[in-house]
């Protein structure tokens, strides 16, 4: 029996740390237990397991746990499972789960993203990629020129904004400063943000790849985040306030960082609103992927919160994106403030805010509409989450 709607009914997160001794499978179990407890479910009610990007056998630190291991460890009787890198972006695993419950294949799907990129460096033989003599695939077009990191690729988009639209470092710095302020109120971010970042300290930071400085780049961390997606006709089985996945969008026009004028966030942003009656004016909070500080600017512009090129002015001074501002951004700290949870943290925080469970960092009023995004460069996926 197909259901018309998909809901997020539980979110959970493990401890977030740097070089955590706890095994990444156990971090995933921690997050899963918290999520099903919040939903009021038990593991025998879960009938699907979806993840991004699946177990990364060549580079375990990037994704150390597979859907099969979770099915086994939690005793789940799964009707469908999926883990794969070839999706629009991290949050598309949640999008796929929404399809599965709408199609009637599953009733409650456990979605997870586990990272062990800090801990993995302490055990390179097990967790880090083997040294390779050659580069192939997409990286052959960047690595040979020592454009080794996504920081260098993102920097070139950001540099064009500086040149063409006058984006300043003071404006860009508001993303990291705002993230740090919010992270100070997030108990799960304590290992990542120990003191508030001031704009002065930001301006003095060393450059990584102009215009991106050290604080514009997220930090490797160890953590797992779980999101439970349930069918609209299974809500009588849950014991918490459901959050509807009102719309979703993903976009990959070219699988390339350098053959396109702008990142895919612009296409995915436009498409999200084509699938809903909600508009940007209805949104109470945004949780935008900030693996690099420039990326939230692409989402602000792509989703139409401002015109293309005006993202820098939009965040100037930081008041508009603060918790008590017009459009609170990355209220848990984002990845810059709360660690590189790799996409799922944004869905977690959007749901937490909509349910009014964000504690000290809870935004005022009764938030009903949130946008969570993931991806950068050629990858983009967005979710519109509503309490309605």
């Amino acid at each position: 029996m197909a259901s018309k709607e998909a809901y997020i009914t539980g979110v959970g997160q493990s401890e977030v740390g740097v070089r955590l001794p706890r095994h990444p499978l156990l971090l995933t179990v921690d997050a899963a237990k918290e999520a099903i407890a919040e939903a009021g479910l038990t593991f025998d009610q879960i009938d699907g397991v979806f993840s991004f990007p699946g177990k990364s056998h060549g580079y375990l630190a990037f994704s150390p746990v597979g859907t099969d291991e979770i099915i086994e460890a939690l005793g789940i009787k799964s009707k469908w499972q999926m883990g794969g890198l070839e999706q629009p972006a991290q949050l598309s695993a949640i999008g796929m789960a929404a399809w599965a419950v709408k199609e009637g294949i599953c009733r409650h799907v456990l979605c997870f993203r586990t990272v062990y990129e800090a801990g993995g460096m302490a055990d390179p033989a097990q967790y880090m990629p083997a040294r390779s003599e050659t580069v192939s695939g997409a990286s052959q077009w960047t690595s040979p020129f020592w454009a080794t990191s996504a920081a260098c690729w993102t920097a070139q988009y950001a540099a064009r904004h500086v040149h063409k639209y006058g984006l300043t470092r003071e404006q860009l710095g508001q993303i990291a400063v705002n993230g740090s302020k919010n992270a100070m109120l997030n108990p799960r971010a304590r290992a990542i943000t120990k003191e508030e970042l001031t704009l002065d300290k930001y301006m003095d930071a060393r450059m990584i790849s102009t215009p991106l400085c050290l604080y514009d780049c997220d930090r490797f961390s160890d953590a797992s985040t779980v999101v439970i997606v349930s069918a609209g006709d299974a809500l009588d089985e849950i014991k918490c306030e459901p959050v509807r996945i009102a719309a979703m969008s993903g976009s990959v026009d070219r699988y390339s960082w350098d053959q396109v004028e702008r990142p895919a966030a612009y296409d995915a942003g436009r498409d999200l609103w084509a699938r809903t009656d909600y508009t940007p004016a209805d949104v109470d909070t945004v949780q935008f992927y900030d693996g690099f500080a420039f990326l939230p600017i692409t989402w602000l512009e792509g989703l139409g919160f401002c015109e293309i090129g005006e993202g820098g002015q939009f965040i100037e001074g930081g008041t508009r994106i603060a918790r008590d501002g017009q459009l609170p951004l990355n209220t848990a700290g984002g990845q810059l403030g709360a660690g590189r949870l790799h996409g799922f943290g944004f869905a977690h925080e959007a749901v937490t805010q909509l349910r009014g469970r964000a504690g000290e960092r809870q935004i005022p009023g009764d938030p009903r509409v949130a946008v969570a995004t993931s991806g950068g460069g050629p990858l983009a996926a967005a979710l519109l989450l509503t309490k309605d």
Binding site: E133, T134, V135, S136, A138, S139, Q140, W141, T142, S143, P144, F145, W146, A147, T148, S149, A151, C152, W153, A155, Q156, Y157, A158, A159, R160, H163, R206, M207, I208, S209, T210, P211, L212, S256, W257, D258, Q259
Partner: protein
């Protein structure tokens, strides 16, 4: 002394690009039917799906579309800073190359600068780098 550049794994699709510098050629795949270019190189034209494609030696000139000055040494011994740029190739609409701008100080590089290819050889692979046109 910089470490050796990461070496692309040569295959049927990319060999003409990475070895064309031996003849001084910057080779970009061109379609014999629709006349459009495909980059990164593929075995078919990405515009019309024709298999009638071949490497075309393009002018090797272009303009800087965007760039970054990289300060982070991503490998042991890598000398910084250096310029990573995206070059829009002249007469090759829609094709950009990520590359390095060499033979000038990093602060001499600007948006829109005219540049031309210079090849750097390393064990039979010819890396297309660019320098400013005087």
């Amino acid at each position: 002394m910089n470490p050796p550049r990461p070496r692309p794994k040569l295959d049927q699709e990319n060999t003409a690009f990475w070895t064309g510098g031996a003849q001084g050629h910057l080779n970009i795949v061109k379609c014999g039917d629709c006349g459009q270019y495909t980059h990164p190189p593929r075995l078919i034209c990405r515009h019309c799906q024709s298999e009638n494609i071949a490497p075309d030696a393009v002018t090797g000139t272009g303009v800087i579309d965007t760039f970054t000055v990289n300060h982070q040494p991503w490998a042991k011994g890598l000398e910084v800073p250096y310029v990573i740029a995206r070059v829009a190739l002249d007469s090759v609409p829609g094709v950009y190359l990520t590359t390095n701008i060499v033979n000038c100080p990093v602060d001499a590089v600007a948006f829109g600068d005219a540049v031309k290819v210079v090849f750097e050889e390393q064990d039979g692979v010819f890396y297309p780098l660019f320098e400013k046109v005087a």
